[in-house]
């Protein structure tokens, strides 16, 4: 079989492929399924071996998260929240607990609640709340995702809150690299607010290495971003199949070929819908 014959066999309805391009045969779709599964597992495994080459690109900083959160509050005529080291410590402990216990929720498998972390960090509250996010690439996407969700938005725009803490921590869930963002809100029930603020400044000045880590955020830029590569390969495969389906439909229609198969229009609509869905799918999830 020459190269030309092979191309015809794969892409064009012809005697050699029973008048259906080989790329559209059910066996070919099963091969795509196997390819996607191996490719998905393969790049995840590769990202564990060489994350600096093939990894998750992340650029999330506490400074940007605080700025974006307070910007949203400002747009709703609310006072800005003050970054509180105790709430940041609580957020950091919560993130570490989620990684160590391998869960992604407000409440842990052993009954750990967000309030436990806030209280154990030394912050005594009258109001408190928590927003979670993971797998986002940028700070602005995180805050926008929370603002798109009514319950998370309520937290950000709650007038009772005075203080805020953040933790941006990298780790692994189920062997997969993940960036967790924990946002803790609070209002101290201490009567001596001025003293609390003084303590905050003092603690910031004496920040330990771990606290600096908490404040800084996470910035990673591998040579290849796993998610972008995954999405690009998927879009290319779906796009290729759409082109072959359209080409096949046109040729079959022109040649008036009679065959038993599903209608191309239906497959084009279905695959086209998911091509759009994959294309527009945003990274990240929130809780």
């Amino acid at each position: 079989m020459t190269f030309f014959d092979a191309v015809v066999h794969l892409f064009i309805p012809h005697d050699s492929n029973n008048h259906r391009p080989r790329l559209l045969h059910p066996h070919a779709f099963l091969a795509y399924v196997v390819f996607i599964v191996f490719f998905g597992f393969g790049i995840r495994a590769a990202s564990n071996i060489a994350p600096e080459i093939l990894g998750i690109a992340t650029n999330i900083s506490v400074e940007d998260l605080l700025y974006d959160t307070n910007l949203k509050r400002q747009e709703s005529d609310l006072p800005p929240l003050i970054l509180n080291p105790k709430l940041s410590q609580a957020a950091y402990n919560k993130a570490q607990n989620m990684f160590s216990q391998n869960y992604w929720a407000h409440f842990g498998p052993n009954g750990e609640s967000p309030w436990d972390f806030i209280v154990s960090s030394g912050y005594s509250y009258s109001f408190a709340g928590e927003n979670l996010a993971k797998d986002f690439n940028e700070s602005s996407s995180v805050v926008q995702a929370w603002m798109d969700s009514p319950t998370h938005k309520d937290n950000i725009l709650k007038s009772e809150y005075k203080d805020i803490g953040f933790a941006v921590v990298n780790g692994k869930f189920n062997g997969q690299e993940t960036t967790l963002v924990v946002q803790m809100f609070g209002t101290s029930n201490s009567n001596n607010q001025a003293s609390d603020n003084f303590n905050i400044i003092e603690e910031s000045a004496k920040a330990s290495d771990s606290q600096e880590l908490i404040v800084a955020g996470v910035s990673k830029l591998p040579i290849l971003n796993v998610k972008t590569l995954n999405k690009s390969v998927t879009i290319l495969l779906l796009g290729l199949l759409m082109i072959v389906l359209v080409l096949d439909g046109i040729l079959i229609s022109m040649r008036k070929t009679i065959r038993i198969s599903g209608h191309n229009i239906a497959h084009i609509l279905f695959l086209g819908a998911f091509l759009g869905a994959v294309w527009l799918t945003a990274a990240g999830s929130i809780r």
Binding site: V33, R255, F274, A277
Partner: protein, 89 residues
């Protein structure tokens, strides 16, 4: 089966209208759960299964339903589900 049917909407305009409603409704639900990938994945499975059902009913009414066609719709649905798993989960 008449080959002219391949790109002819008119003889099954209602069927394709139903398919379009399924896909538009499904994708609306899909995007309304942006940032909830597990729910999006489940919605994708729902749309894919509905697509297989649509294909079976469509070809049954068309009187050309065969096991080959059912398999064709099923493997395309599985393909989309695996793609969503890879991108979302």
């Amino acid at each position: 089966m008449d080959s002219r049917k391949l790109f002819d909407f008119s003889h099954h305009i209602f069927h394709y209208l139903v398919l379009t409603i399924i896909l538009v409704g499904g994708l609306t639900a899909f995007f309304s759960f942006r940032n909830y990938p597990v729910i999006q994945f489940l919605i994708g499975i729902g749309i894919s299964l509905t697509y297989v059902l649509w294909g079976i009913i469509h070809h049954y009414i068309d009187r050309d339903l065969s096991i080959k066609i059912v398999i064709e719709f099923a493997v395309i649905a599985v393909f989309v589900i695996i793609i969503l798993w890879n991108v979302l989960i």
